[in-house]
């Protein structure tokens, strides 16, 4: 299982690096491609961290932040 996960992660990293390179308008150097590879790898690490929080089917995304949805009256005069 561990090896399989490691292999699929490697495949994803290389596929995403290839996609990124395809959208660049020039050939990247080896060290530049290495930077892209490291950042793709970091984003996959972030995904793993995000998945440590269990989400239910109906847990919707927050499209932005809406402070007005909270109860603090805020620093405003005549706050509603």
């Amino acid at each position: 299982m561990g090896n399989r996960q490691g292999k699929s992660e490697h495949v994803e990293i290389e596929a995403r690096v290839a996609l990124a390179l395809a959208r660049a308008n020039r050939e990247l150097t080896g060290s530049e491609a290495g930077i892209v590879r490291e950042r793709v790898s970091r984003s996959i690490e972030h995904r793993k961290q995000l998945r440590t929080l269990s989400l239910e089917n109906q847990d919707e995304p927050a499209p932005g932040f809406d402070p007005e949805s909270f109860s603090h009256p805020g620093p405003w005069k005549d706050a509603p």
Binding site: R26, E32, H46, P63, P80
Partner: protein
Amino acid sequence: MNGNDAAPAFATILELGLALRSGQTTAVALANEALRRLESTGRALNAVVTTTPETALALAARADDELANGHDRGALHGIPYGAKDLLAVADYPTTWGAAPFRTRHIDGNAAVVERLEAAGAVLVAKLAMVEFAGGFGYDQPDAAFTGPGRNAWNPDRWAGGSSSGSGAAVAAGCVPLAIGTETWGSIHGPAAYNGITGFRPTYGLVSRHGAMALSWTMDKIGPMAHSAEDCELTMLTLAGHDPRDPSTLRRSAYQSDRRREGFRFATLTGATIGVEAEIADRYHAALEVFHAMGSVDEVNLPELPFDAAAATIISAEAASAFEIFLEEGAAAELTAPEDRVALLAALSLPAVDYLRALRVRRKAMAAMDDLLAPFDAVLTPGRATVAPPIDQQFPEEPKDPGARTIDGAANLCGLPGLMMPMGLGRHGLPAAVGLTGRAGSDATILAVGIAFQERSGFHREMPPEPVANARSALHPS
């Protein structure tokens, strides 16, 4: 000037206002002095992109005429300030800190520039910043076409980012007020490293019309100044709904919180783990001051992936905001080698990862509100270290359990925060304490800051001979 007679360049907005109204100085004199210091000290610190002498002197002359004729626009009347160079100003280039845009002009003024002008403030400079506010993935200080932002206390140290010039220019006495922006740490970092006071408002409190967008759901604009009181005076002008920025809150005028004691504080469990010993000492001393202002409990930050969610959202939104720029290859002209390519990685970020981060954000917002609701502010050391050397790469994933993590959580959730000095740490560089509050508690956070500074006086400490330091660093004898 209330203890600053010997150094009027470091006077607060309130002190300068008194001097203006008593006839001790004029707005034109203040503008000229600010321009002089910006061209000398400010340039030496790489804090300045463009000075704005034509606009400054016209606005300053208007301010003097109005005061002479009994027309007083309020606390900011005649006060010089600098704006981070991601805020549009019609008559000058707006570079976003990026070489490809070094001569680019944007029509119209940013909303905050409009509001400050209406309040009588005098724009004297567009201030340096990390290219694209750091959103392209820089990992070292040399990431702006104006050069690495140098610290006002020691030019061999970093000013912090991305509001580098805003932090250094205030700390070096070039301007009493600068406007910064924060997506994740860009006001708080430079404020902490330069020993000044920086305020990050609740998301939606200040209009971002005319400001570069890096992350639509995380960008905020706020003041950087010598005191929490000056930050509040500025917020009274900046806060308010703007139909041109749909994220701004539909509320009426901002109202100050006059309390100075009886507060309820909490410090994070483990807040000083991984923090430099000198900063931990300053933090414990600062807690004594907070104890005198109210109660201090201890709380645990919820174990949620705040930083991962914030990083994922910023990557996805920045890649979208700059998609065409990236595909056209213009990033090849950026200063930091990693900035030329790193954001390409986000073009292949799966949509499901971005959506998961937004779903986590909803949980995080509720958890942080539960944590913060019983308190007026949660306290942490502002940064784990003093300003790092100017030539040092950042650690791959900075680990500041008490500081960086709550910064990630607060920015992810749009919460207000204040960063202010709490004495000096290692190498005689500033140490800072950070406050985080519930959404909408901006006035309370600033009231806490004002009360702390009235009792402690740390915000009065000035850097030693910034001009001499800056010159010796650039032209060693």
